[in-house]
């Protein structure tokens, strides 16, 4: 019966000899160690003991041999599966048989838990500010780190409450709320400003957790803390810097910005928001696309390209652009940007933005003024030139036209050819007279009801020879009249100049087509001269109507043609503009319609 009890028991039991061999070993023990009973009985059990524990086991066996009972002796055994078990022994020497009667317990699991707890405890108390208090908040344990940060010795802290380090920064309610939380068994977390022994303050991120006893009642509190003083100071410093930056920006009207390439997020200073008239949203930053939308349609492609170049190639930029605020206001801004590198890669762009609206307007006004004064100086010079050459031209011209007339009256020659000579003389005379437009006093030539269609035909007949010489086609069709109030010769000169320019433009192109069109719109009469000459540079478009601006080489142009055209056009209350088409340029002149009986001045 004892034999059966011996084997059924969950306790580990064995009988061993003092020379170190198992004589009897129960099933539970056999199962734990994993060897067969025969193997266990065949060899000394010391073979199974962990090498580090052999000496103390031998010593313990000598104590047993001397009649001393063993209570809670612990050693480690190596099992068949290679694992190690902690075993706690209770053994006694049977004086009758001189054998060791032993019971034992596998305490491996408890041992591991205790060991892990100890490691954790060590880790926490060595690396995190650690305090333990009783339920009333009286400090019972502190670690070196707490002593170090607070400036107090351990004995100055133990037995006291946290009032020792109270900085007075926090309200009564703050602590009341903390106590309410931890008393109810919850964990409380927040940043606390405490005071050192020397009176200075430090900030800790605190976790206060209640420790519960077996009944679930709070028996102690543990507080873990981390010093975040530097972080807080850094944050305060950053904020201060940002405040100063914003203030500086506001005074200088310069905003700052940064673009994070990976996310497209934009960071703007307050002044940038102000300059662009964008409402600052708390916490939310604008993204790149929103930022780019804040420019006028005309300038958006420019900033798009600049930002793209900077992001991809690191090309810095500095631009004066028109921004379009969300309220639809157009504003001149100066903005620059440069790439910022990290590990050889561009990770962000940053730069400034400046409100230059007033400055820019003043500059544009100044430029315009200057242009105007240069222009009027040019006109004055031209006027003087005209006056001095007029006499020289008009005399020989008088001779040509005089003789032509005389020959015509004598009636013995081809009258048409003489007409052409006389008409040409008229034209030259008129141009010389027209040069006077540029000088101060001039009586404007009389205007009458004229047919633009007829004028175009006249102009084509005079320019056709030159166009043919350059293999250019002139194309015009009209079967009706287009009346405007104007001067026939002047308007003819306009058309001649435009056709001649078109001939020059198409001369070196494979396709040499010049088309003239007259359109009667509801509001005006439009004359278009369209060529296939490749078009006009944008930069030139603005200046091309000024005198002396020419793209032609020295002997081919005076640079006066288009300025004369504009002068005449404006004198006719008409407007001229030029656009590039797919293959060339299109000049469009819009004349007010001739109204019968109206005062055309």
């Amino acid at each position: 019966m004892f034999e059966r009890f011996f084997n059924y028991s969950n306790e580990l039991m064995c009988i061993a000899s003092l020379d170190g061999k198992f004589l009897h070993i129960n099933d539970a023990f056999v199962d734990l160690l994993g060897y067969s009973r025969e193997q266990l009985l065949a060899r000394p059990f010391l073979d199974l003991v962990h090498p580090e524990d052999i000496e103390k086991t031998k010593l313990e066996m000598r104590h047993i041999g001397a009649g001393q009972n063993t209570v809670n002796f612990e050693n480690r055994y190596r099992c068949a599966d290679g694992s190690t078990k902690f075993i706690s022994w209770k053994s006694t020497l049977d004086p009758e048989s001189n054998l060791i009667f032993a019971t034992a317990r596998d305490i491996s699991t408890e041992k591991l838990a205790i060991n892990q707890y100890a490691q954790l405890y060590k880790m926490v108390t060595e690396n995190i500010i650690f305090v333990k208090t009783d339920v009333k908040g009286v400090i019972t344990e502190v670690n070196d780190m707490f002593c170090e940060i607070s400036g107090y010795d351990r004995n100055e802290l133990i037995g006291k409450t946290h009032k020792v380090v109270n900085s007075g920064v926090h309200s009564h309610d703050f602590f009341k709320s903390m106590w309410k939380t931890i008393r109810s068994g919850q964990v409380w977390k927040d940043a606390i400003t405490n005071r050192r022994k020397d009176g200075s303050q430090y900030v800790v991120e605190s976790i206060v957790a209640p420790m519960l006893d077996i009944d679930g009642k709070v028996e102690a509190y543990i507080a873990l803390r981390q010093d975040i003083t530097e972080r807080i100071q850094y944050q305060q410093l950053s904020k201060k810097n940002l405040d100063i930056l914003n203030e500086t920006g506001e005074i200088a009207k310069v905003g700052g910005w940064e673009l994070e390439i990976a996310t497209g997020q934009l960071f703007w200073t307050d002044e940038t928001f102000k300059i662009l008239d964008v409402q600052k949203r708390n916490g939310a930053h604008p993204v790149l696309e929103e930022g780019l939308q804040l420019f006028t349609d005309e300038h958006k492609p420019i900033i798009d390209k600049a930002v793209n170049d900077a992001s991809l190639n690191g090309t810095p930029y500095a631009l004066e652009l028109q921004a379009m605020t969300p309220k639809g206001k157009v504003k001149w801004v100066y903005t620059n940007g440069k790439a910022n590198y990290r590990d050889g890669k561009i990770y962000s762009l940053s730069g400034t933005i400046q409100d230059i609206h007033e400055k820019k307007l003043a500059e544009l006004r100044y430029k315009k003024e200057r242009q105007r004064s240069i222009q009027s100086a040019k006109f004055a010079a031209l006027g003087e030139l005209a006056a001095s050459v007029a006499h020289e031209i008009n005399n020989p011209l008088g001779i040509i036209s005089g003789y032509a007339e005389l020959i015509k009256y004598q009636g013995r020659v081809d009258e048409q050819k003489l007409e052409a000579i006389m008409k040409s003389c008229d034209r030259i005379a008129h141009i010389v007279k027209n040069l006077k437009r540029f000088s101060r006093s001039d009586s404007s030539p009389t205007k009458t009801k004229v047919d633009l269609s007829e004028i175009v035909v006249d102009a084509i007949s005079l320019t056709q020879p030159r166009a043919t010489r350059h293999l250019a086609d002139i194309d015009f069709f009209s079967d009706r009249e287009f009346y405007v109030n104007g001067n026939h010769i002047e308007l003819e000169q306009v058309v001649i100049n435009l056709i001649n320019n078109a001939v020059d433009a198409v001369a070196k192109k494979p396709l040499k087509q010049i088309s003239l069109e007259l359109i009667d719109t509801d509001s005006d009469i439009q004359l278009s001269v369209i060529d296939t000459g490749g078009g006009i540079d944008d930069g030139l478009k603005i200046r091309m109507f000024e005198p002396f601006v020419t793209t032609k080489t020295e002997n081919n142009g005076t640079g006066l043609g288009l300025s004369v055209v504009r002068g005449i056009v404006e004198d006719h209350d008409a407007k001229i503009k030029v656009e590039n088409t797919e293959q060339g340029a299109e000049f469009v002149i819009r004349f007010p319609k001739y109204i019968e009986g109206a005062n055309h001045g």
Binding site: G402, L406, L435, S441
Partner: protein, 111 residues
């Protein structure tokens, strides 16, 4: 019938003038030298004097001032702007139409 004088340093222009009026009933004198012309006009005042502005040595208005007051003096000029205080009886711009000369003469002779 009127007595006409034209002073111009351009020989061809005086020739045109001459050709235009030679078959009319008008008495006709043309000069390329202003001094000769003035001398002629003082001894033989014309009805109408056509005078160029820029002559060899003098200006048209200077010539006009030396001519008897009752002569109608017409300035014939290629200049676009004349700076003078002299009040001419008419101005014809060069290049002139022959008809302008004829009309001017007609105008002063009452035709």
């Amino acid at each position: 019938m009127a007595n006409l004088v034209y002073i111009d340093d351009e020989v061809y222009l005086t020739d045109i003038f001459h050709s235009l009026f030679k078959d009319t009933f008008h008495e006709l004198h043309t000069f390329n030298d202003e001094y000769e012309a003035i001398e002629h006009c003082l001894s033989n005042p014309p009805d109408i004097l056509f005078v160029d502005y820029r002559l060899k040595r003098m200006r048209g208005d200077e010539v006009a001032q030396r001519i008897p007051k009752d002569v109608h003096i017409i300035l014939v000029t290629g200049d676009v702007q004349i700076d003078t205080d002299y009040q001419f009886d008419g101005v014809i711009a060069k290049p002139f139409k022959l008809v302008q000369l004829l009309h001017t003469v007609d105008g002063f002779t009452g035709h």
